[in-house]
């Protein structure tokens, strides 16, 4: 079992939870497991070829998985994973008119 931290923009998919659990042997299977629990999550994290989107960073115990083995990076019990949009988000359109 691994712990996965979910960023604000994806929390509508996890029922508002900021941390969820998954049973997975690597990042790829973690994403599949999350998608099973929270349908639609994979589309947000991966492109239509199944590759992790360029502006989505995934960290395994603080290390960017691009510097490990990407989506084949193996996981073990107790690992902590964070999904983080590369560009800090959070802004909303406020203007009166466009």
């Amino acid at each position: 079992m691994v712990k996965v931290r979910i960023p604000t923009p994806l929390r509508p998919l996890t029922g508002g939870k900021n941390e969820v659990e998954a049973t997975a042997s690597d990042i790829q299977s973690m994403i599949e497991s999350l998608n099973g629990q929270f349908p639609g999550l994979k589309d947000r994290v991966c492109d239509d070829k199944g590759e992790i989107r360029r502006f989505v960073n995934i960290y395994l115990n603080e290390e960017d998985i691009r510097f490990l083995q990407g989506k084949d990076t193996p996981l073990k019990d107790g690992d902590e994973i964070s999904i983080v949009p590369a560009i800090a988000g959070g802004a909303h359109p406020h203007e009166r008119s466009a």
Partner: protein, 418 residues
């Protein structure tokens, strides 16, 4: 009759997945988290833009208004841009270049850096979108420019800076009376905080929620270089990199001019320059990667000290597309570069200018840039703002009493020359 400019912006588009949005204050795609950029109606622009219409325009960056993302007339920063392109013969002789030019944004109006370009566009757009408060996360130059322009535009202003900036950059905020917020952390901490605040307040953060518009202002450096060279794109351009946005937009600007038929060919190579103490983008380039590892900055080039560069990926891509290169220089080489530029061309650049000159020197040595190439170095900020960096290297004045005899003796001069 003045041409109408309202049909030139189509909207915003995600650079990654292509999802489109209306032209509002948004910077991240809500589907894939990619950055948004302005999408133009180039056919409409092409039908009215020409070398002649540009040459007849104002003596500022607004002569390129057809390619800037505002819908009406400019209202902020009317005098920014159109800085000198200097034929740098002395520096060229020193480095082994026959046709070297310095694009001198150390004298941009009003705050002496290229940020006056992006802020003119950002604040004009912010007013169009109905904002009365502007803000930014800054390594210094941007804050100075936002504070000055906000004062002139009578807008409320908050600037957020790291706690360890050069004294002149701090003073260069305070004098305009904005709210200056000094954050205990580096630029990346400041930026993260500003993203959170931007989600809470109805403020125009020029480099957060207004970023798609703001960043377009950088293209005017490329436009000016081309026009000032006589409507020719140079062979080589060396560009300092912090977030990587400037390099990306220089490349975009050159391609737009090409697409619109304003230049005949485009074979320019764009090169990126970083300080070794903060070189996530050039390190990725050297290792042949298209992604970078964020770093904790440690360099005297504080204006370039962004450890997690928002446009790093696109800067790598633009450099690769153009066939350019990237390199980095040490703090010592930065100071050497600043002194060399000052002593050959009489231009006192800030530390980022030292980075550009240092990397230019390396690229010539490596044979990447050839003697006969028309080469432009972008000098983006003024040395009076980073005096701390060179204080130890410039020496002291020669002090004498007000006595002719002592003066002649001190400088070994004969009594009668005439």
């Amino acid at each position: 009759m003045a041409p109408t400019t309202t049909d030139k912006i189509k909207g915003l588009i995600c650079r990654e997945c292509g999802k489109t949005y209306p032209p509002v204050s948004l910077h991240v795609c809500d589907m894939c988290f990619g950055p948004l950029e302005v999408q133009y109606n180039y056919e409409a622009i092409k039908s009215r833009i020409s070398r002649k219409t540009i040459e007849a325009g104002p003596k500022s960056l607004w002569r390129y208004i057809d390619l800037l993302p505002i819908q009406g007339e400019p209202t902020v920063g009317l005098y920014a841009g159109l800085t000198p392109l200097i034929r740098a013969k002395n520096l060229g002789d020193e480095l082994g270049l026959d046709k070297l030019y310095i694009k001198n944004d150390t004298v941009n109006h009003p705050t002496l850096s290229f940020k006056d370009r992006v802020v003119s566009v950002a604040l004009t757009r912010a007013l169009e979108l109905g904002y009365d408060t502007v803000a930014c996360a800054s390594t210094g130059n941007l804050a100075n420019s936002v504070a000055a322009h906000a004062a002139a535009a009578k807008m409320q202003c908050y600037v957020f800076i790291p706690h360890d900036l050069e004294a002149s950059k701090v003073l260069g905020n305070l004098v305009y009376r904005p709210n200056v917020v000094e954050v205990e952390g580096n630029y990346d901490d400041v930026n993260r905080l500003c993203s959170e605040i931007a989600g809470e307040r109805k403020w125009a953060f020029v480099n957060v929620n207004i970023r798609p518009y703001y960043a377009e202002g950088s293209k005017t450096l490329a436009y000016e270089v081309v026009e000032q060279l006589g409507w020719i794109a140079p062979d080589q351009i060396v560009i300092p990199m912090a977030s990587g946005s400037l390099l990306t937009k220089i490349w975009k600007g050159l391609n737009e001019f090409h697409k619109l038929g304003l230049i005949d060919g485009l074979t320019t190579k764009v090169h990126g320059a970083q300080a070794e103490g903060c070189s996530p983008i050039s390190a990725a380039y050297k290792q042949g990667r298209d992604f970078f590892k964020p770093v904790k900055p440690n360099t005297i080039a504080k204006s370039l000290a962004i450890g997690n560069p928002a446009d790093g990926y696109y800067a790598l891509k633009a450099t690769a597309e153009s066939g350019g290169a990237m390199d980095s220089v040490t703090d010592e080489e930065i100071v050497e570069g600043m002194m060399l530029l000052a002593q050959t061309e009489g231009v006192f650049a800030e530390t980022a200018g030292g980075v550009t000159i240092g990397v230019l020197k390396k690229l010539v040595k490596q044979g990447v840039i050839k003697r006969t190439d028309t080469t432009v170095a972008l000098i983006t900020g003024n040395g009076l703002k980073t005096q701390e960096a060179v204080m130890h290297a410039v020496g002291r004045p020669t002090r004498i009493s007000p006595s002719l005899a002592q003066f002649l003796k001190t400088f070994n001069l004969d009594k009668h020359e005439r």
